[in-house]
Symmetry: C2
Subunit: 488 residues, 2 copies
């Protein structure tokens, strides 16, 4: 079980870290980024050995990881995150005077972050959850993923170096390893923990949500879980382009990194007719030519094989292509099926984590809208579109808005940009809280709660709310935005 | 059971209402306010007959109700609520181009609002939950409170008139009445409902939270529940002022409106010593001289009497004063007790809804901090303070920040200002979601979720995200705030 010291240290650190100015947090986040870069090739090699992901991919993932740490540094230096809001006193107002009211988003308290298997760097020890929580002012306890413990330890060492370098209390960051549901459950159930970040399976996420609700003080769990990321191909897009090239691009996204992405496009809606037939045939050829790559763990590979076999055996599903397995164990072949929505729609909607795609054919827009309207919540929804499809797209868009966190046109959902406008979330079961994102600036809001200060004397007000605005924050004063240093 | 038509109408209305511009929603909210004012004295008389609240109080509550409708109208006309965010494409970026990414907060879908017994106007049919949800673009189904059905019907008629007047689909607002847990449960469990607002008891709120979690698609429930709103009296405040006058002001807040406020100060921490003794004695005299007023319902009055009797009979609690019952049934006497924290702290912390106050004495700051540190989450925390208390207050503030939604100095928690900076929330069990408020501008965020549009063609983008900014919104473009019309 996790040591009591970890929780005690996080609690002690919170007392000072919660009031740290944005530039201190920014310096800390930048120091973490530098310390990770300083780990050099050892980090990439360890991560590759543990995760079986290629070095090129991990090099890119490291870039994303340090990039998002620096983006959160910019965000907190700017201070917009705090939503400082001041309604000045109106002592002469009738019938009653208005008190002085000031509002700030404060960090929620120490948080637990569960490392993800599929992103040993960007969604793990110093990944997006950790970066956004530290940016918000929350100490973080990371539970390292058991599939890449050495990678986790290395990154944790880098973070610990950064903590020492900027002179923060040690408890602002802890890294723990431990297997089994009980270990993770003890982290979520400790009363000193105030929120949880998780990326992983639906069953795992829901178990944590339940544990968190059963506490004396229930706490939020931000679980990023299951999504099949539907792709809708509209007739105009097929007519205007090359159906075979489009299908090849679909399969490239489907098989990228063995399909082990939360944004993997596992379900495509392709129109009936010749052009759609050409798309399906070309997709089948592309999958047939694709080879498996070693998956993250043998358990994940085995679950993938069970999922593909279950699909192939189901009524209303026809497996149209399989590729070749990769070298060695745990590198199963990509697979493509065509499913009849009437008899196999529910199965087609279930995520098979890996390079398994399902195509559903549709006859007219009403049928398509009916299919999409019944889908569970999704992280992304993709539309392949040409100007000729505009009427269909106008009917489609509201349905997709209600069901997905990100809607993208004429592209593929894999490859998630880290920025202010990104949403990596979506309605249940894509996430446990559709109002949130785990990627991009808005991710910081998961770890904050608002507090109002009424007639609090100047000598006691947080700096962010002081009249003189010593942090030069963007603030809303009597309803009007006053821009801070970074927005001028 | 609620009619299927209600849900179907709300769903149909959502399709158009969700895309309505801010000025349409603003016009609607203002039309509701006017229609409520046009109900005239009939509304006040009906509400008074049903709730036993005096006309003067209800006149004030009506002012607050129409005032907050108009504040939300201003908020949506301004467009700041949408958090429109644009990261423009960088086609030449290396190693990968950046797509065009645009983010908007969209309404979450049709919501259910449960009317509250204690605010027949401001927290009921067209109260804060309804106003903020309509402002966000969500159709609202109100479950009227059975204690004031006639008031609810009258206000619902006014809202319906406003719907017709501004030409919105009828399903944008519905009002239903029905008793029993099953009726309310059916509202929360319908798959077409996407969020719930509730103000009431802890048991009632938690039952709705549980129901919402058990749905195929779990949804957020914003339940405003239980709080004893601790008041801390510091020694300097007693020394600098008149302890008896301070105690009288405490009792005035405690007994206001029969203590039937979510911000009623039910627990006071008063220092040991002579000045504190004088405070307690004066508070006892003030309670002794106070008369009961008829409470909202006989059930609420009976629960109050059980709560007061339970306190009086408990070990470690001494009842120091009771007032006189009011005329007629259901008007129990105010009561004041002194409790020993060691033996009766847990009981003292439980809300007795009504004019029941508990005083706890403390010897030194460490003891006080220990008491406050163990408290559950609170809607408010009040400090009576003089400059001489500054060192104590500096230690106190972080503890209160972690436990309360609003911290106020040298005032009383009853009387909640509606504004941009207000937080009427707080950690569990004050609310079911400590990141939210049910009063003030930020209340709108409960009914919104972010959606990202990636490379969506101009002809399909929502107006709020169009390049030309036709709604003149404040937007964040490439990280920099660009002020809209209303903020310039």
């Amino acid at each position: 079980m996790p040591s009591n010291d970890v929780f005690a240290a996080a609690t002690a650190a919170f007392a000072t870290y919660k009031t740290s100015p944005g530039d201190v947090r920014a310096g800390f986040l930048r120091a973490i980024a530098t310390a990770i870069e300083n780990l050099g090739d050892e980090l990439l090699q360890t991560a590759s050995a543990e995760s079986h992901l290629p070095l090129a991919r991990l090099t890119g993932e490291r870039g994303r990881t340090v990039g998002q740490l620096r983006q959160f540094a910019d965000l907190v230096a700017d201070g917009y995150w705090a939503e400082a809001t001041i309604d000045t006193a109106l002592p002469d107002r009738q019938p009653l005077p208005r008190p002085d009211l000031r509002r700030l988003l404060l960090p929620i308290g120490p948080v637990v972050v569960f490392g993800a298997s599929n992103f040993p760097l960007a969604f793990s020890t110093a990944g997006g959850d950790t970066a956004s929580a530290l940016a918000a002012g929350c100490p973080v306890v990371v539970k390292g993923h058991p599939a890449h413990p050495g990678t986790g330890e290395l990154v944790a060492r880098a973070v610990t170096r950064a903590v020492a370098r900027v002179g923060l209390p040690a408890g602002v960051f802890s890294f723990v390893l431990g297997e089994g549901n009980e270990f993770g459950g003890a982290l979520v159930s400790d009363p000193r923990i105030k929120a949880v970040g998780f990326t992983g399976s639906r069953a795992g996420g829901l178990a944590l949500v339940d544990l968190a609700r059963k506490r004396r003080e229930p706490i939020p769990v931000y679980a990023e879980m299951s999504s099949v990321n539907p792709v809708v191909v509209l007739p105009g897009a097929l007519a205007a382009g090359d159906p075979a090239a489009l299908a090849q691009a679909f399969v490239a996204s489907l098989t990228l990194g063995s399909g082990q992405f939360c944004t993997n496009p596992g379900l495509a809606f392709v129109p009936a007719g010749e052009a759609g037939d050409a798309f399906v045939a070309a997709a089948g050829r592309a999958v047939g030519e694709a080879a498996g790559q070693r998956m993250l763990t043998e358990g994940i590979a085995a679950a993938y094989e069970r999922g593909v076999a279950g699909l192939a055996a189901a009524d209303g599903v026809e497996q149209v292509a399989t590729g070749t397995p990769g070298e060695g164990a745990g590198a199963p072949a990509p697979a493509l099926s065509v499913a009849s929505w009437g008899s196999a729609g529910e199965l087609a909607e279930q995520e098979v984590f890996g390079s398994s795609g399902v195509i559903v054919r549709w006859d007219d827009t009403d049928e398509l809208l009916g299919m999409l309207g019944g889908l569970e919540g999704q992280r992304t929804a993709t539309v392949h579109y040409d100007g000729a499809d505009v009427d269909d797209a106008r009917r489609l868009l509201p349905v997709l808005e209600d069901r997905a966190g990100r809607i993208l046109f004429n592209g593929w959902p894999t490859g998630v940009e880290v920025g202010h406008a990104m949403v990596h979330g979506g309605p249940f079961p894509a996430t446990s809280d559709s109002r949130t994102t785990s990627v991009g600036s808005l991710a910081i809001e998961r770890w904050q709660r608002p507090v109002c200060y009424q007639d609090v004397p100047a000598e006691l007000l947080p700096d962010a709310l002081a009249d003189a605005n010593p942090w030069a924050l963007t603030r809303r004063v009597d309803g009007v935005l006053e821009l801070g240093d970074s927005s001028r």
